[in-house]
Each structure stands twice: as C-alpha cells, then as structure tokens.
C-alpha cells in the first residue's frame, strides 16, 4: 500500500447534553483538525462525514452538516456506521490517486434521542424487534455467553471499568472520570445480568475529525508530525445473535490478522505499544484482548488481572479512558484513532504512554459488535 498519513486530528470534549448543535460540533473539530495539520480548507480535496439518521433525528443527515465539514464545492460522501469505517473509506479515497487529502468527520448527540428505543430499531422489524432488546440487554447475552464459556468473572470485568474510568482522569476530553474500586462496580445497580451500571458506557455528545494525506502531500506541505497507516482491515459477522459464536469474535480475529499482516506485525502483544479499543461495556475490552491476539482465547481475565493493560503495564489499553468514559456512538471509533495519533506524536499529555512507536485503534458497529475495524499506526 502507498504510504498514507494522518496529519491532523481534532476532538470536542465529550459531555451529555451539549448545547452546540450538530453543525457547530462538526465545525469545531474540522477547524481543530485543520489547525492541528497546519492546513487551510483549500488544502482539503474531499470529505467523508459520518451520520446516523435515527441519532440525528433527520433524514439525509449528512447534508445539513456538509458545510461545517468543509464539503461546499468539494466531493463529499458519507458513511453510516462507526467513525473507523468512515476513516477506512477516507483512506480508500486517498489511495485512489484522485485526492491528495481527505477530511473525515464524525459527530453524535446520543443525549438528544432516546438511546434504548433507537438501539431497539436496529433489530429486525419482522422478527425480533418486538422483544424490546436494546444495547444493554443484547450485550448482556454476549457477556454471559463469553464469561460462562471461559470462566471470566464479574470482578475481572469490573477491573476494566476501574482502569478506564481512572485513566479518564488524565484525558481532558473524557466525559466520565471516576476514582472507583471493583467493589463500587460490583455494588452498582444491576441492569441486565451480568451487566451493572458501572460496566456500561455513558450517554455522550461530541465530535471528532481527522485529516488523511498522501506521502506526496506530507512532503510538499512539510506536515508537522505525520502518523503513518501501517495496516487496516474490516470484517463483519452474521446479523443474528443466534447464528454467531458470541463467545469469540471471529470477525475481530480476521480483521486483526489482516491488519497485522499488512503492518508486518507477528506478535501483537510485544510489537504494539498502546491500544485504544471500543469498550462499550467492560466485558468487551476483555473479549477484544483475545480477538486482537493480545492473549489467547479465554485469557482476557488473566490479562487484566496481571496488570498488563494498565498504564505502566506491558501494553496499556485505553489510556484515554476508552469508550467506557465517553461514548458518543458514531464518533467513538474515530476518537480511538485520534487518541492513537496523539500517543504516537508524544502529545497525549498525562495519558501519554512513554516512547509509543506502534499503536492500535479499533472500532465496532452493530448489535453486539457485528462489525470490527482494526488500525495499526506508527510514527
């Protein structure tokens, strides 16, 4: 693959009930990404936005925010899904040879809709939508299936919540930063067994943007600190929960292997220095450790137990606090990429993993993470 770099990133602070509207949020991050890249809008050749009509509460939701993303007079397109998939599409467009630069934006105001009702609409209207499941109850089925098969405990899941909410204290963009203990998580209200309140991610509003550029543009513009895309892959599972192996994500394993092959990574647990993964629920982070090959199948619990993924550990995961501390749905994967970029530039402030040279970012979409997208980045 031709070398493509991420040359600019921008994020809002994630909060519930932001008073900025969609376009104001998108403009904030597009402007920040341009400033970060040392570019002007005239340097941007095309735009990929990320919208979801149900979350946005309007149809053709990409059009009202087009101007705020810099689309006017340009080739602009849109992705419905996680921001990692928009970035994936942006990468393809940058590789096409037609565009030297691509602006990728994502925004979401989860607080403005009715999250449980909206998520229920993801189920098949002629089949199981009538069961009334949402993200929490469907993921509880996955959590239990995974934990039962491998003997993962609720305490081990709770450790993810403690770690990530603690890490969030070092991230000025994070929504929910907490000093909590495993006991606090265990005593928080039970929502859908085994998922408790503190195993879940918050309802967050926010936006994120990144700018991609070809090597030619990087050299011509003397980009400040380019971060190179070394490997990326995307893979999807069956739609229905009952047709999947809920205890082990084959699509994540497939996407990770492909991304590692592209990046020339043979032993991810040694060669990756920091990872930002999509932990919408605490159990997910343990499952994703396994799918990403940070440990073997069923060993996610041991990996959190031995401290490998905490700050100062062998492979810190979610120094930003992850999605457990800020979940602006469509944005969350793109935020993982932006955080990975900051780590590789050495600009992650108090959440910096010293000397990080190779970073992983991961996004998901769909009921119980039907789709996974894995990015390997390097400075």
């Amino acid at each position: 693959m031709e070398r493509i770099a991420i040359v600019g990133v921008g994020q809002t602070k994630y909060e519930r009930g932001k008073t900025k509207n969609f376009a104001e949020l998108v403009y904030e991050v597009a402007r920040k990404a341009l400033d970060d890249a040392g570019m002007e809008l005239s340097d941007i050749d095309n735009v990929v936005t990320t919208t979801n009509d149900f979350f946005d509460g309007r149809t053709i939701a990409c059009m009202p925010i087009a101007e705020a993303s810099g689309s006017y007079g340009r080739d602009a397109t849109n992705v419905e899904g996680d921001g990692t998939l928009s970035a994936f599409y942006g990468l393809m467009r940058t590789l096409s040879g037609v565009y030297g630069t691509t602006m990728v934006t994502a925004h979401c105001k989860v607080s403005e809709g009715s999250p449980r009702k909206l998520f229920n609409q993801a189920f098949d209207p002629v089949y199981d939508r009538l069961l009334g499941m949402d993200a929490i109850s469907s993921c509880a089925l996955q959590a239990r299936a995974y934990m039962h098969r491998f003997g993962i405990t609720e305490e081990q899941c709770a450790k993810v919540s403690v770690k990530n909410h603690g890490n969030a204290k070092n991230n000025p963009y994070a929504h929910v930063a907490l000093d909590i203990t495993v006991e606090d998580v265990m005593k928080s209200p039970m929502l859908a067994e085994p998922i408790k309140r503190l195993d879940t991610s918050p309802i967050s509003d926010g936006a994120c943007a990144i700018i991609l550029a070809t090597e030619e543009v990087v050299q011509k513009k003397a980009a400040r600190k380019p971060v190179w895309i070394k490997g990326v892959a995307h893979c999807t599972d069956a739609y229905r929960l009952g047709e999947r192996d809920l205890t082990h994500s084959l699509p994540l394993e497939t996407a990770a292997k492909k991304a590692y092959q592209m990046a020339g990574i043979k032993d991810p647990s040694r060669e990756i220095h920091v990872a930002e993964v999509y932990d919408a629920f605490s159990y997910m982070e343990l499952m994703w450790y396994e799918g990403l090959g940070f440990c073997g199948p069923g060993q996610g619990g041991q990996l959190i137990d031995n401290g490998a993924t905490q700050m100062g550990g062998k492979l810190p995961v979610n120094p930003s606090g992850g999605v457990l501390s800020a979940h602006s749905v469509q944005v969350a994967g793109l935020a993982r990429i932006a955080e990975a970029v900051l780590q590789l530039r050495g600009e992650a402030g108090r959440r910096q993993v010293p000397g990080a040279k190779v970073a992983l970012a991961h996004g998901i979409t769909g009921i119980c993470a039907q789709t996974h997208c894995v990015w390997v980045l390097s400075n």
Partner: protein
C-alpha cells in the same frame, strides 16, 4: 395530528433547546420466508430452513445462508423444545419496549433439530434458577397475530429447576 416537531422550548446555559417527537407510520413487507414461518406458528408448528451446502438448519428461517451465500429453500420442522444457550435477567424498566415487566429474562434457545439459536423471552420460570443447558419449551399465543410474539415466550420444561 398536530405538527410535533417542536412541542416545548427549553433553555440551557442561555441557549434554546427544542423538544419534540418523530412519529412515522411504516409498513414492512415480511417477505416470503417470514410469512411462511408465521403461517407455521399459527398451527403451532415451528419451521426452519436447511442449507443444502452447509447442512445446517437455521431457525428462525431466512432467505440466504450467510456462510455460503446459497439460497435457502428446504423447509424442515423443528421441535417445540430446545436448550437454553445463554440468557440475561433484565432488571430495568422500559415499558414501551419490553413485552414483560422487569425482572424478566431474555435467552437464546437452540430448538431440537436446529443448528442456530433463537432469541426470545423466558417466562414462567424461577429467574434465579435459570442456567445454560437447561431445557425450555415454546408457549404459543392463544390468538396468533402473525408476528414474532406468536411464540409468547419459552418456559422451562417440567422437571427442570
């Protein structure tokens, strides 16, 4: 019906927040496969489809095999009883979504003769005694409505705790 786009205007930090409702009538064609599945439920018979290539029986049925992309047209009847693969007991209330009042359980059930699981509600059960691998049985709705809740719920088979 009135225009419900803005029903209330609130203020936060000196800025206006418009509050309204989106209510959109919709029709969904169930398609040939689900239509036949619901016709079966009307007679208390549960049907799935067998993939001729993958040799798996999928319940509920669908048109295309996700593994081999083959068309699924071989109908097979499966049992009313099956095995609970996984479950969750829901403790929060969402009256406009949930078919039962919390606490209640969702489960994934592999019916006898099927190779895939069916997501459904578990009722008439001691929620504390639910466990993976337990036998459960479909309870049919008295007057079928041509939808997923024509199986009202699954309940533990007698003799199961």
């Amino acid at each position: 019906m009135e225009n419900e786009t803005i029903l209330e205007v609130k203020e936060k930090d000196g800025l206006l927040i418009h509050q309204g409702v989106i209510r959109v009538p919709y029709t969904w064609a169930a398609g040939a496969v689900a239509s036949k599945f619901y016709a079966g439920l009307r007679n208390k018979r549960i049907y799935g489809v067998r993939c001729p290539t993958c040799r798996i029986v999928l319940v509920p049925p669908k048109k295309t095999c996700h593994r081999c992309f083959g068309e699924l047209s071989e109908w097979v009847e499966v049992g009313h009883e099956g095995t609970l693969q996984t479950f969750t007991v829901v403790h929060y209330h969402e009256p406009e979504l949930h078919p039962l009042k919390a606490p209640f359980a969702y489960g994934i059930i592999k019916l006898d003769g099927a190779d895939t699981g069916m997501t459904h509600v578990i009722a008439e059960a001691d929620l504390k005694a639910l466990k993976e691998g337990m036998r459960v049985k479909a309870v049919f709705k008295e007057i079928p409505g041509g939808n997923y809740l024509d199986i009202k719920y699954f309940k533990p088979v007698k003799g199961e705790k």
